[in-house]
């Protein structure tokens, strides 16, 4: 009834590529997005990767389940050539850090040398992709059209490492990397295999190293949590490791069709262990959830329950890791994919297409009805109370600001969160460097007689943990979107 894996493109068939462009300009666009094929593809890919991370039942009923741990495979030759290539790509990006050492000079917060690192990535992106991606991905369906497969790949690739202008990183960038991998999947870069094998190679072999790279960037350049919600966000920077990591600890399954709603695999650490430093230290080596928690321990000082109350609350879930996994998926849908500030700059091309998904008839969302738990049917009468500002301020008109507009559509999408637990969010980086001439000289004139920004002013502003207006377009200098 729904696709369980992202469809691979037929290399023999003609395919018209399109340079990915921004499509989401207001709350209505977010609701369109939630019914688009791009959204369906994203959710399909996430569910596909998620299901593969569940432990596998053994064919022999007496034998223990096979669990998928970090570190079990962590050398390039543990994987096929495509995954090994991507690991090489990430390793080279990490090596760029040596070429752009953090600026020792005074700064407010974020380190301006991140811009130098990012500039290296931009200037070398094309050749990096040539070097590390299989030819299949780069020559796919090549024709005379204006865009190529590489155009689309590069857009998501460059959006994956944070904002050079604001010196921050958030779940919008994380989403971009997922889309980059999704593009590669569509090109058939990951070969046909037994169910779950390639997916696990992607998660353990590529995604986790990607997270390690980003954590290193965050530490090296003190990248700010994009749009930080302080203690009231799930995590300052990431979301997906909580999905894949909770799947690692869920009960064993034989196929993706039988994902249980609750329970844990034998010998899994307890959810409450996230509040124990020693348990986190032990588990972070093998589990992505604990690895993410471990990074929080690395960067935050103070009681866990105080600086991470959302994760602390989740640690009280009694029904096991499958329950947590299910909740994380719902939460990702509501707090990342349905949030205007996060998805507004996700670019849409031919691979993640800005097209209505015929299968996505409201109120059901197509992609996740199998493994996604039954959507809760109402918002417990809290809808108005949860977006009071939106209700009061927006009146009848649809304002292009984030919180009310975007969140109001979550019910429509089929997943209806009943609490506003904000995930960390950020605008996704446009494919071009934010300080590029076109961007800063094209500053819009402020309305009325207000002064015009001088050239390039915002480019010199280091990213600091500052509040951005939620109604702003989010891309720094271009923020006055009218």
């Amino acid at each position: 009834m729904s696709r369980r894996t992202l469809a691979r493109l037929d290399p023999a068939a003609a395919h018209a590529f399109a340079p990915p462009v921004k499509r989401i300009h207001d709350g209505d666009d977010v609701s369109f997005f939630l019914g688009s094929t791009a959204y369906a593809d994203i959710m399909t890919f996430i569910f596909q990767l998620n299901a593969a991370m569940f432990p596998q039942k053994s064919a022999d009923p007496g034998a223990p389940a096979q669990v998928w741990r970090l570190g079990d495979q962590d050398r390039d030759d543990d994987f096929g050539p495509s995954v090994a290539g991507l690991r090489g790509l990430l390793a080279e990006l990490e090596a760029f850090i040596a070429e752009a050492p953090p600026d020792p000079g005074p700064r407010r917060f974020g380190n301006v040398s991140f811009r130098a690192w990012y500039e290296l990535v931009i200037s070398r992106a094309a050749s990096l992709l040539d070097k590390y991606l299989p030819a299949r991905a780069l020559s796919f369906g090549k024709d005379e059209s204006t865009a190529s497969s590489k155009t689309e790949l590069q857009a998501y690739f460059l959006g994956s490492f944070g904002s050079a202008q604001r010196l921050d990183y958030g779940t919008g960038h994380e989403l971009s990397f997922l889309a980059f991998l999704g593009c590669l999947w569509k090109f058939g870069v990951f070969p046909e295999d037994d169910p779950g094998v390639q997916e696990r190679a992607i998660v353990l072999g590529v995604f986790e190293p990607y997270l390690r790279l980003v954590r290193k960037l965050i530490l090296t350049y003190t990248l700010e949590p994009a749009g930080s919600h302080g203690v009231w966000g799930l995590d300052d920077h990431f979301f997906l490791p909580y999905i894949f990591g909770s799947a690692q600890l869920s009960p064993a399954i034989s196929s993706a069709e039988e994902i249980p709603p609750e329970g844990s695999v034998a010998n899994a650490p307890k959810p409450a262990d996230v509040a124990k430093a020693s348990a986190v230290e032990r588990e972070r080596k093998s589990n992505m959830y604990f690895s993410a928690i471990g990074f929080i321990y690395d960067v935050k000082k103070g009681p866990f329950w105080e600086h991470s109350p959302i994760l602390f609350d989740i640690s009280g879930v009694k029904a096991g890791w499958a329950k947590i996994n299910k909740g994380m998926l719902k939460m990702y849908n509501a707090e990342v994919l349905s949030k205007f500030p996060v998805v507004q700059h996700f670019p849409f091309g031919s691979l993640f297409a800005w097209e209505k998904d015929p299968a996505a008839m409201p109120p059901a969302a197509s992609a996740h009805t199998t493994s996604q738990p039954q959507a809760r049917q109402n918002v417990d009468g809290q809808s108005a109370a949860r977006h009071p500002a939106g209700a009061q301020m927006q009146g009848g008109t649809r304002a292009p600001w984030a919180p009310g507009g975007a969140a109001d559509h979550t019910a429509w999408a089929g997943a209806t969160p009943t609490s506003r637990v904000p995930a960390q969010s950020t605008a996704l980086l446009p494919t071009r460097a934010p300080w590029a001439a076109g961007n800063s000289t094209a500053l819009p004139t402020a309305p009325g007689s207000r002064p015009q920004g001088p050239r390039g002013t915002a480019a010199g502003q280091p990213g600091v943990p500052q509040t951005r207006a939620p109604w702003a377009a989010g891309s720094g200098a271009g923020g006055q979107h009218s």
Partner: protein, 464 residues
């Protein structure tokens, strides 16, 4: 003990008061705030504080370092809520203190004191979680609408009052010839930085900022790039010229506002004309006052925040001159060293949330302005170069061989560096007010061992 005092005692212990008391408190606070103008008049002495963001234990540390209410007068420049875990406890305590000691504590509005912002950045979630409904959030937001937009501190002394503070081991005097003893003559000193133990970390003398002698103005904070205290040259290059040779010890007024200036506001009186009793608008003067940031630019620029503007040194100097201000104190931006003076000490950022969000590693600061009267009759030495001559002040003197750029050194490693906004005509400086003596107390995050873990873990709805 009155109910109010009981509430204060509870909140000081980081415990919440019942919802009906919150409602009553908010009602009383509104009655009080409605009487205040958009720009509250405040007399020195006063201690000026920046963002708190729900860091309750650090707010207690602030009171420990700065003195308790009502013994010390406080002016909080907004952003009491959001991001931290204890926005409710922090804001309600400040509100109780305001109601209990209305003349001892001034609260002005930050950009986070807003319905829309608190629904995004955490305070709304915190209210739901701690009270089970949005009622308390609603009461608080109604108070937000009545908070003043700014404050005008008058009667601040240009000279620092001597203190009993001892010198820290790391003390760095800007005058090498001085022996390391607490100065008894504060006449030259206009900045003193103390740590949480009341030890003097550094001092800056006015003459150190004489343009002829200083080439490395302090960017703010107490330490340089390597974390060591910076020795020479405070806060700009010459914000020290006497006001036309006047013998007054009046430091000129200090405008306090959360964010900064607005292109729509050229006089303080225009702030007074605004209708402030509303949700913070998305644009316009009221929005700008709460959202703007100073930056190393000329004139005005668009803000990467998407609200408010960036404004340069020329804007600040013009505004201060026109409004007879010696200084603008504002908050709104994290500064690693707790405070940061810019544009020849015509504007300072004060940040009062240490180790912001549990991870930024910054120290916090508060700014003490002493009362002019306490120094009445104090005879200032009048022989300092650059002061008695009434040099056109805020800008470095264009000296042969020394371009203004060579004296600025204000670029914060941003590769922009053209601070100061260029030279402004001398005549503009005539009548510029001497900045008040500034005593900064910096402090770190409060110890965390004594905080009790909550017994219950509310189940987040996604995980039901």
């Amino acid at each position: 003990m009155s109910d109010l005092d009981k509430a204060i005692a509870l909140l000081r212990a980081c415990r919440l008061i019942p919802e009906n008391q919150v409602r009553e408190l908010c009602y009383k606070a509104r009655e009080l705030l409605i009487e205040e103008g958009n720009v509250v008049g405040v007399d020195a002495p006063v201690t000026i504080c920046g963002d708190i963001h729900g860091q309750f234990h650090d707010l207690m540390e602030l009171f420990r370092v700065g003195g308790d209410v009502p013994d010390t007068n406080y002016l909080f420049m907004g952003d009491f809520v959001d991001r931290g875990f204890y926005s409710l406890e922090s804001f309600l305590l400040l509100l109780c203190l305001k109601v209990r000691y209305p003349d001892r504590i001034t609260l002005i509005r930050g950009n986070h004191e807003s319905r829309q912002i608190t629904t995004v950045y955490g305070f709304y979630d915190e209210c739901l979680r701690k009270y089970g409904s949005a009622n308390v959030w609603r009461y608080c937001c109604e108070v937000f609408d009545y908070l003043a937009l700014g404050a005008l501190v008058s009667g601040a002394a240009t000279n620092l009052e001597p203190t009993s503070a001892t010198l820290a081991d790391t003390f760095v005097d800007t005058d090498d010839s001085q022996s390391s003893t607490p100065a008894t003559d504060y006449a030259d000193i206009d900045i003193e930085v103390l740590n949480a133990n009341n030890e003097i970390l550094s001092r800056y003398r006015r003459r150190d900022r004489d343009p002829l002698m200083s080439s490395s103005p302090v960017r703010g904070g107490m330490s340089g790039s390597n974390g060591a205290p910076r020795a020479a040259g405070a806060a700009g290059t010459g914000a020290t010229a006497d006001s036309g040779g006047s013998a007054s010890n009046d430091g000129g007024a200090v405008l306090c506002v959360h964010g900064g200036l607005s292109p729509l506001i050229d006089t303080i009186d225009k702030i007074r004309l605004l209708d402030r009793k509303q949700e913070v608008p998305h644009e316009g003067a009221m929005c700008d006052l709460l959202w703007s940031d100073p930056d190393e630019i000329d004139g005005w620029g668009l803000s990467p925040r998407g609200a408010g503007f960036l404004f340069g040194a020329d804007i600040v100097k013009c505004f201060n001159h026109r409004n007879d201000l010696s200084l603008i104190a504002r908050a709104h931006q994290l500064v690693m060293e707790g405070f940061k003076e810019m544009f020849d000490a015509t504007i300072v950022t004060v940040w009062s949330a240490p180790n912001y969000c549990y991870r930024c590693g910054n120290v916090a600061a508060i700014l003490e302005l002493a009362e002019d009267g306490s120094n009445a009759g104090f005879a200032r030495s009048n022989g300092d170069a650059g002061r008695s001559r009434g040099l056109p002040m805020p800008m470095p003197m264009p000296m042969p061989g020394i371009g203004p750029g060579g004296l600025q050194g204000q670029g914060q490693g941003q590769g922009q560096g053209q601070g100061g906004g260029g030279l402004i005509p001398r005549q503009m400086d005539i009548g510029h007010r001497m900045a008040p003596g500034r005593r900064y107390r910096v402090f770190e995050a409060a110890p965390q061992d004594s905080r009790g873990m909550p017994a219950k873990k509310p189940v987040a709805d996604y995980f039901l």
